[in-house]
Point group: C2
Chain length 209, copies 2
Amino acid sequence: MVMKKITSPFNITLQHESIDSQITAALERLGESLRILLSTEAREHGLSPIQAQVIIFLQSHSREKNTLSYLAKEFSLTKATLSDVIKILVEKDLVQKKERPSDARSQVLALTPAGKKIASSCGQFANPLLLPVSHLNQQQKLTLKHSLFTLIHSLYQQRIITIQRMCYTCIHFSPATPFPFCNLLKIDLTEEKLRLDCSEHEENKERKV
Amino acid sequence: MVMKKITSPFNITLQHESIDSQITAALERLGESLRILLSTEAREHGLSPIQAQVIIFLQSHSREKNTLSYLAKEFSLTKATLSDVIKILVEKDLVQKKERPSDARSQVLALTPAGKKIASSCGQFANPLLLPVSHLNQQQKLTLKHSLFTLIHSLYQQRIITIQRMCYTCIHFSPATPFPFCNLLKIDLTEEKLRLDCSEHEENKERKV
DNA sequence: AAATATAGTTAGGAATCCTAACTATATTTG
DNA sequence: CAAATATAGTTAGGATTCCTAACTATATTT
């Protein structure tokens, strides 16, 4: 993180950036790019970025859990903000609210047929990272996945991310017996099988370090 | 990228996410977290996120090139948007505009003493990624750096990123003779030395693939 | 010298996202 | 069981972000 300045024999200031800060800078850069891309693509579909995010999320996570409050946590926004967004999506007939018998205060959010249609065309969002990622070799991919998962887990432990659904933080996860194991699916969680976003995830609130 | 759905012996739907899409999802997740973090931290310093980004950028890139237009490209915003942001920063006496003798239309942006002061306290932005990154082993770091640089370079080639300052896209960069080499600094660009953001960078507009 | 390009500003407006105050239902507790 | 507290969600009002379009002024090209 320290920035050393060295004068080279050619009288040019050499910045020596540590590899750690180069990595964090690269992650920031990629994140920024993806965000700009999302907003551009969303606009082409007549959606705002957050509207698109909600629709894509509902498409890939269809289930009872999807309430307004849950989405607010997912996106780190207030309920008021999400309420506005959902209201517009309901007016556009892309999302519908269904009563939840178990709790009269809350409603389950789901895509309407029109919403599903848009979602699947948004799902085609030509993610410009997929091609270059696919060109990495298998070893690089595994290392990359492992490193990124570690970083996300660390943000979760630092309480910066409040919601996620990765194996490390699931009540069904056994750390090492002798390998990480999923007690629900009864499978060894090799590097390949570890999930970032499991539909069966149930949070283990302990957040052991 | 294909999402296979398999019914497990336990009647639980197994999603098989490809490692490629897990990686892109993880990158999106990290990017989103960093953005939220920036906005939180900026607010604590009485700045908006974009104001903070501008100040941090000016701190680490003090030079003639820093015009309003350059920053607009850097952040993928319009000149109108940047003009507003800069106006406010000038009113707050954090940024100053200096005349540029070579071109009377444009002005060079630089931090005022007050701006530098804020910048260095913002520079302390406890980046929550630095600690977990530092705990990766050297081999993981090198692979991570290499992969992330490759991805950024690919976004540049796809014209999604319009400005950057990494070795691959610099006129002083020789790809392999037999190793990548910087013709300006006269050094071999080993993985360790490759830069993401070099102050001597001059764009090679060819964008060879 | 005229046409075109570039740097930057201004005005007006849509969208994002917040806080605070509120209603209604659930849950906990004395 | 009634009162206190917590949770789901809405509404109103406002600050900020960020855009397009129209504009001025200076540079560059033809």
